[in-house]
């Protein structure tokens, strides 16, 4: 450890901490002058951002002076309406009394009646632990409307995913293809990487209906219709297979491509991997390949076996089998001829073929060789690591569609075919990934385990591999309020925050008592069907009580959700608190090793604000939650800082939230006794900890035995078996077999559920039209409508930021003039955009950089009048708009009827599936409008002018 005290000019003080203007979490150096922030810059030594910083991070000091700042706990005045803005300022003591009384009662009767959902917080290890110890299954963060399709689609295929968990090898890639990405939350590393790619003369291809952000510097832009990426990728796979441009060795040694699938129809084994001696279906089965030497099935990876990659065979027991790759080849070649793909996507045949061939040829011909020795899982020693400079990354353009999971499965298959996973030049994992496919934690499969005054046996979220893992009751009904892990949405690894309010309001599957939100603006831009959601938040029973009885929000700023709550807990900003970016949660690791980090307070929070972390620890202490309290019911931890220092997974597992400087002397890492000086050691090291893996453990980690042993020793995985990637997903097939009645064990409750599972749980990736296409009249609503996130605001939660709102304060609906002329619309016209669900009025702007059947706008610029303490007449309220009003959180599905408008596999909200029609509006100004929110007590007056300086006087 080196002491890296931040340097600053004389008279000024500088400190390192970790940014939180978005989820990228860069290292920053904050210079102070006269007790105020003089300057925020990137920490040059920090592995994430290496000294650079973005617009949001640079604007952090404006967050500190925002007039939207909440400074007192607020309680809705008795007898007043929710949302009416009549508040009583209360003490924290009173706030705790109210919460403890309410939550104790819930916990001792029916813990499910607390629903605790968090937004883009990166402290889910703590919030989830709180929910688990409380005993409620009703916990999740925001993944349901964000990117769970990308996360799970890849985790169920290659054992890892993007962003902080993996990404392009920026130091070597020469051909980068981005699907549905204009900016991402791994923001600065991505931009640094694009800079490097450009310096190297590499090619950037961007596939996106809109050309913006990264797309602007793309060497080739392929505009396609939203929701059709899956077809495009299957078309590319078609080209690669038809031209022999697949990495045979990679497919044979790292994926289940050669493994033999039972193709005989009708039995319990149909579509599962063939097993010798009829071994029962299990996650731990040894799978078989067709050995071309002996012409018999032999175990995958067995010595001397030369497996067939393609082919159909008859096993010794008479079973007909085919290799996974044979099945994928048949799928790609028969179902995805390029003319059909071109018709679906709108991309010309020549383009699809050109890009696929360029990827394939670059991967084949430009081999990268590094002189690094390593040993694979079968004991073979290698004297070099090889790879190819082709990398692929996909994000929300894939995720936010109801066909996104299978699209990301296709993306994963494409990467496998090119052989560019965890090899130099391609996609690379970041520890603690790769993990088993899928990772071991499972949802709570037995509702009897959810009991009063009892902690849950495991966390509320997990990764099902079979119907037995679902959270359903004996009658098949969902256990969770959001219906995650139900027959309707089985692989809901991130929960379904987007349906919580609607379900709680309807009392389906049951009524709850308290809804608690942290960093989630569910009364506005984080909900679909926003206007109706607000009605639900204020709707009452016949007896005059609210249908959702009690709503608690923790927020640092006066958001719409704060306005529509009963109890508001004023949080601190990221510059005012201790915090951890933990390996147990969403770390900031690098391809080469582990990284975690902390925040330290740079400024003192306003009196009356309390970090939510602190609130949770105190609340857990007062509720006597196990894990936070000893057997005597007394709190084990003084405060959050003490909790982080001393909490460990279990007495015999000395792993805590922070990996660095563990052990009494601070000499251990990852595993080690608590160290009382751990926080100080982080601060001395610039607030982060980096552990670089030996070079031999940095590549091929799915089958790198050295790495797998290391990961097991450090408890990142529970088994050190090879993590064989899944071209073919047996998990999918198990659900399909259950639905077809061909599998013993849990069966879907209804015929419709069976039909739905059979349709979508295909073990091979495939493309199907987004659900909205089947639910609405496509002729009436012919135009796709999507959003993009502006780089200066992505994830920054900050339209009250005086600097950032000057960059984008009004959003337009961008439309291609080709389409506008067809609709007889002029540039800057006010129009109605109407979906099957509702309509909004907004202003259009012409842009050639958009696919003509698509319109788009910036996300989350529109505000409810008065929110964030902006002038109620501000552009954000009067000219800007949310597309959310047009999107329904539920859909009338042809198979199952009313159901969440989300991916039938993962529950990811399909908010990019939206279809609209557009016509001229007579009036100007955005619509709908809502009564302006009243400014609550404790919130400062809005200044008319701002003249920010930290200098005492001008010189």
């Amino acid at each position: 450890m080196t002491d890296t005290a931040a340097s600053a000019p004389a008279g000024l003080e500088a400190k390192f901490t970790t940014c939180y203007m978005c989820s990228c979490r860069c290292g920053i150096k904050v210079t102070l002058e006269n007790g105020k922030i003089r300057y925020i810059q990137g920490n040059p030594d920090h592995p994430t951002n290496k000294g650079v910083i973005c617009a949001k991070g640079s604007a952090g000091l404006m967050k500190q002076i925002s007039p939207a700042r909440l400074t007192k706990p607020l309680l809705r005045k008795e007898g007043t309406e929710r949302g009416a803005g009549e508040w009583e300022e209360i003490t924290w003591e009173r706030a705790y009394d109210i919460l403890v009384k309410r939550l104790s009662k819930i916990r001792s009767t029916d813990p499910r009646k607390l629903a605790f959902f968090t937004g883009r917080d990166q402290m889910q290890a703590l919030t989830s632990y709180f929910a688990k110890q409380f005993g409620t299954p009703n916990f999740a963060a925001h993944g349901g409307f964000c990117s769970v399709n990308v996360a799970t689609g890849m985790i169920y295929s290659i054992g890892g995913t993007g962003w902080e968990f993996g990404g392009p090898d920026w130091d070597r890639t020469k051909y980068l293809v981005l699907f549905g990405v204009a900016e991402d939350h791994d923001s600065n590393p991505f931009k640094i990487g694009i800079g490097k790619l450009k310096d190297r003369g590499g090619k950037l291809v961007v596939i996106n209906p809109v050309r913006s952000g990264y797309g602007a510097v793309a060497d080739e832009w392929i505009p396609i219709k939203p929701g059709t990426d899956g077809a495009l990728i299957m078309g590319m796979i078609h080209v690669l297979i038809a031209n022999g441009l697949y990495d045979r060795e990679f497919l044979l040694t790292r994926t289940n491509a050669p493994q033999l699938v039972v193709v005989d129809q009708g039995g319990e084994e149909e579509g599962l991997f063939w097993q010798a001696d009829g071994a029962p279906d299990s996650d731990l089965n040894t799978n078989y390949v067709w050995d071309t030497v002996t012409n018999t099935p032999r175990p995958y990876g067995a010595k001397g076996v030369k497996p067939a990659l393609l082919g159909a065979f008859t096993a010794p027991d008479g079973t007909k089998v085919k290799t996974s790759f044979q099945l994928l080849s048949e799928r790609a070649l028969s179902d995805y001829p390029l003319e059909k793909v071109a018709h679906i996507t709108g991309a010309p045949v020549e383009k699809i073929e050109k890009i696929a061939l360029e990827m394939g040829v670059t991967a084949r011909d430009e081999t990268i060789t590094l002189p690094i020795e390593w040993t694979d899982t079968w004991g073979n020693r290698h004297d070099k690591v090889t790879g190819a400079p082709v990398a692929i990354h996909g994000m929300r353009g894939l995720a936010a569609h109801s066909n996104g999971f299978q699209t990301v499965r296709a993306l994963s298959a494409l990467m496998m075919i090119l052989g560019t996973i965890d090899r130099p030049g391609g996609f690379r994992h970041k520890p603690p990934f790769p993990r088993p496919i899928p990772p071991c934690p499972k949802p709570i499969d037995d509702p009897e385990l959810i009991k009063p005054n009892t902690a849950l046996p495991n966390p509320p979220l997990g990764f099902p591999t079979k119907p037995e893992n679902l959270m359903v009751n004996a009658d098949g009904s969902p256990v969770r309020i959001d219906k995650a892990f139900s027959w309707e949405h089985p692989l809901t690894a991130h929960g379904m925050i987007q349906n919580v309010i609607t379900n709680a309001w309807r009392g389906d599957p049951y009524k709850i008592d308290t809804l608690m939100f942290f960093m989630a603006n569910m009364a506005w831009n984080s909900s679909m069907n926003t206007a109706r959601v607000i009605e639900m938040l204020t709707d009452k029973e016949a007896d005059g009580s609210y249908r959702i009885p009690f709503i608690v929000a923790s927020d640092a700023f006066f958001s719409e959700q704060a306005a529509y709550s009963d109890l508001v807990l004023p949080d601190t900003t990221y510059l005012e608190r201790y915090d951890v970016i933990s390996l147990l949660d969403r770390p900031i690791s690098e391809y080469t090793g582990l990284v975690d980090s902390i925040r330290q307070p740079i400024l003192t929070p306003p009196e009356g604000c309390e970090p939510f972390q602190e609130t949770l620890i105190k609340l857990a202490g007062r509720l006597g939650l196990p894990g936070f309290c000893g057997g005597d019911g007394k709190p084990l931890f003084r405060d959050y800082k003490d909790f982080i220092t001393n909490w460990t997974m279990a007495p015999d597992t000395p792993i805590g939230f922070l990996a660095g400087w563990r052990g009494k002397e601070g000499r251990d890492h990852i595993v080690g006794e608590p160290n009382p000086d751990q926080w100080d050691m982080y601060i001395k090291n610039g607030c982060f900890f980096e552990f670089e893996l030996e070079e031999s453990l940095q590549y091929n980690r799915n089958i790198n035995q050295g790495y797998l042993n290391w990961a097991l020793d450090h408890k990142f995985i529970r088994r050190n078996d090879p993590i064989i990637m899944k071209i073919y997903s047996e998990v999918m097939q198990r659900f399909r077999l259950a639905a077809q009645g061909q599998r013993p064990g849990r069966q879907p409750a209804t015929k419709a559920q069976r039909e739905r599972l059979v349709k979508y749980f295909d073990p091979l990736p495939f493309w199907y039209p987004p659900l909205e296409d089947g639910a609405v009249d496509r002729k009436k609503y012919p135009i796709h409508a999507i959003t993009q996130r502006p780089m200066p605001m992505y994830h920054s939660w900050d339209s009250q930021n005086a600097w950032l709102r000057q960059i984008i304060g009004q959003n337009f609906l961008y439309i291609n003039p080709i389409k506008a002329r067809e609709l007889e619309l002029s540039d800057m016209d006010w129009v109605w955009a109407e979906s099957a669900h509702g309509k909004i009025r907004c202003q259009i702007k012409f842009s050639h950089a958009v696919q003509p059947d698509t319109v788009w706008t910036w996300n989350a610029i529109g505000k409810m009048a008065g929110a964030w303490n902006l002038d109620p007449m501000a552009d954000e309220a009067r000219k800007s708009f949310l597309l959310n009003h047009l999107i329904s959180e539920e859909i009338n599905d042809a198979i199952v009827g009313r159901v969440s408008n989300s991916d039938p596999i993962t529950g990811q909200a399909g908010w990019y599936d939206l279809r609209v029609r557009i016509y001229k509006a007579e009036e100007e100004g955005s619509w709908p409008q809502f009564p302006a929110l009243k400014t609550p007590p404790g919130v400062a007056a809005r200044p008319e002018r701002l003249r920010y300086t930290t200098r005492s006087e001008r010189s």
């Binding site: 973005c54 640094i192 602007a216 393609l310 085919k322 008319e944």
Partner: protein, 241 residues
């Protein structure tokens, strides 16, 4: 005579605004600050920015480029703003070519903003004086800062490293090399102001695929796929290969 300037690579700028906002963060409390805001939380907020990023579309669908153009004072060799200033408040420093405004002498007549061909002057209504990019002269010579941090804030911040800073008169500087190698150009050279900042143009990368190799491999692949049962020859040929 040395001339400090910025070289901005349009092939790397993704329009993130980091340069613009970090400039504001450094300069509002700097020697040439503050950079004030009017109605910061109201209708049509405006403020003083030394650096702004414009977005342009070039061409028509589908052959359209989106171009981000960060723009700040060009520190022109023949700076028109200096020539028109009635009080001498606008001046160009001999030692490094940086164009600055002496706020004590500025009377806020705005002649300079009318004269600037690039629209890179920012009037501070609160103080009644004209402000502009200083190339962070209050950073770049500050020996109390680590040497690698003695750069303009926009250069330090830029995530894609699209900015090079240096003396464009020194043929050996990184800035001069960037101009030479990247075909650096001046914005609107016809202005006659001889701007010192340069931009590097877009450079599209093309990948060539050897069609002959593809044909050879394709024949082998098709054979291998055909050999495996269940895919009929006709199916493959239908795809037009």
């Amino acid at each position: 005579m040395p001339q400090l300037a910025l070289i901005i690579d349009l092939n790397k700028c993704v329009g993130c605004h980091a340069c613009a906002v970090n400039c504001k963060s450094w300069n509002t409390s700097g020697k040439f600050g503050p950079l004030p805001e009017k109605t910061p939380y109201g209708k049509e907020p405006t403020g003083v920015w030394f650096n702004r990023v414009q977005t342009w579309e070039v061409g028509t669908y589908p052959d359209v480029d989106v171009l981000y153009l960060p723009k700040s004072c060009m520190h022109c060799a023949e700076a028109p703003c200096v020539a028109v200033c009635p009080t001498g408040a606008s001046y160009k420093r001999a030692e490094d070519g940086v164009v600055l405004v002496n706020y004590d002498d500025c009377i806020g007549c705005k002649y300079c903003s009318w004269a600037c061909p690039y629209g890179c002057r920012e009037f501070d209504e609160a103080d009644g004086v004209m402000k502009k990019c200083t190339l962070c002269v209050d950073r770049i010579y500050d020996t109390r800062l680590p040497e690698e941090e003695r750069k303009p804030a926009c250069v330090l911040a830029c995530p894609t490293q699209a900015r090079v800073f240096g003396d464009v008169q020194d043929t050996d500087s990184a800035a001069s090399h960037a101009i030479a190698e990247g075909q650096g150009f001046r914005l609107m050279p016809e202005s006659g102001a001889n701007p010192s900042n340069r931009y590097l143009p877009r450079r599209k990368v093309k990948v060539t695929v050897d069609q002959e190799m593809i044909t050879v491999r394709r024949a082998a692949a098709v054979k291998s796929v055909r050999k495996s049962v269940d895919i009929e020859e006709a199916v493959i040929e239908d795809f037009g290969f």
